[in-house]
Symmetry: C2
Subunit: 188 residues, 2 copies
DNA sequence: CGCGCGATTGAGTAATTTCAAATCTAGTGG
DNA sequence: CCACTAGATTTGAAATTACTCAATCGCGCG
């Protein structure tokens, strides 16, 4: 199962068996049930998660009690409360499992230690981080420019199986509209 | 003037004179007038910009002709069309100067070359990129959860001088509302 | 003084939300 | 196989919010 991570890393940079063993030694594997939390709002969140199998989401509950989904993460994706992870502050999002999920996680300190021991991980995480920036920049543009219908079509085009795996209520929370509005948009 | 970049780098990692000379050799300095474009929608955008002095914005004009501001960048900030920069695709945003501006820019290839020659730049850009992720994640949350008033207050709190340097129309475009709506929000 | 640009105000319109009710669906037990 | 229930989805109607478009205001500059 952890070979998923190795393959993921080797998409960017090739590593030896020894190097992968070193990398893996910094990660901890965790199995989670549906609805289990990885990160809870208000708590410390010193871990970054790599999804081996399953599906998780990060979401925020605002003052009005509305839930907004920041990100879905399925197989091969990284997820964390980035600010809480990097600054050691309290989480502003919940991260919880939408399915039975297997993750590997690494602490902030261990990530830094790993990168200092193995320079190619600096490279790897730089590339990953840049890709994350691209995705987030696109998401901001999407939220600002596109109508809910366009955002919906874009999401389904990009992640066809998400539609099968999560409720429309959650998709609406990701798109930034109520479930009623999403329903009306897709039927009309 | 370029010492601004050195100081910026040394906030993260210390470098020698020789190393800074090497770094600098990959950058080109450019002086721009107000309203001058660094990146134009639809064109290639192989450069990443570091603002030495002045103020620029990245923005997107949607199908309806509305302008949306993705980012402001002032002294010590990096800006680019991240996707176009990293993937070599065409830009989806304009980047233009709101004031007389001095920038340093580096091409994608040179950035990669620099990082491969000087591993601490891999580290530096990883850290910067992570910080960018934090900022973007917060921006997404802000766009989804906060009212325009809250977004306005947050922006002004974070960048007090922005209010002095840019028109309210531009601030409205950043917040994701019309200038009329912003005007009503701040007067009421 | 008058021009031009940005900001504000007003009124009508369009879109989204809210709240409630109805419908659909998958899974369970008889 | 069918009825039943819980959860999810859809529909309806009123209320709210933001937008559009037009007009007005305010200020700096020639």
């Amino acid at each position: 199962m952890v070979d998923v991570l190795r393959k993921h890393i080797e998409d960017i940079v090739s590593i030896t068996d020894e190097e992968f063993a070193l990398i893996l030694s910094y990660f901890t594997k965790k199995s989670c049930k549906k609805h289990q939390y990885l990160v809870e709002m208000g708590a410390l969140a010193p871990n970054e998660y790599f999804v081996l199998q399953g599906l998780v989401k990060s979401s925020h509950i605002d003052q009005s009690g509305r839930t907004h989904i920041l990100q879905f993460a399925m197989e091969n994706w990284w997820i964390s409360d980035m600010e809480a992870f990097q600054k050691g502050t309290y989480a502003t999002v919940d991260i919880d499992c939408l399915e039975k999920t297997e993750v590997l996680y690494i602490t902030y300190k261990d990530k830094e230690k790993l990168c200092s021991e193995l320079a190619k991980m600096d490279y790897f995480f730089r590339i990953k981080s840049s890709a994350g920036n691209v995705a987030l920049q696109k998401r901001v543009l999407m939220l600002m420019c596109a109508t809910a219908t366009e955002r919906y079509n874009s999401l389904i085009r990009q992640y066809p199986d998400l539609y099968q795996r999560v409720s429309k209520t959650l998709i609406a929370s990701y798109l930034g509209v109520t479930r009623e509005t999403l329903s009306r948009l897709t039927s009309g």
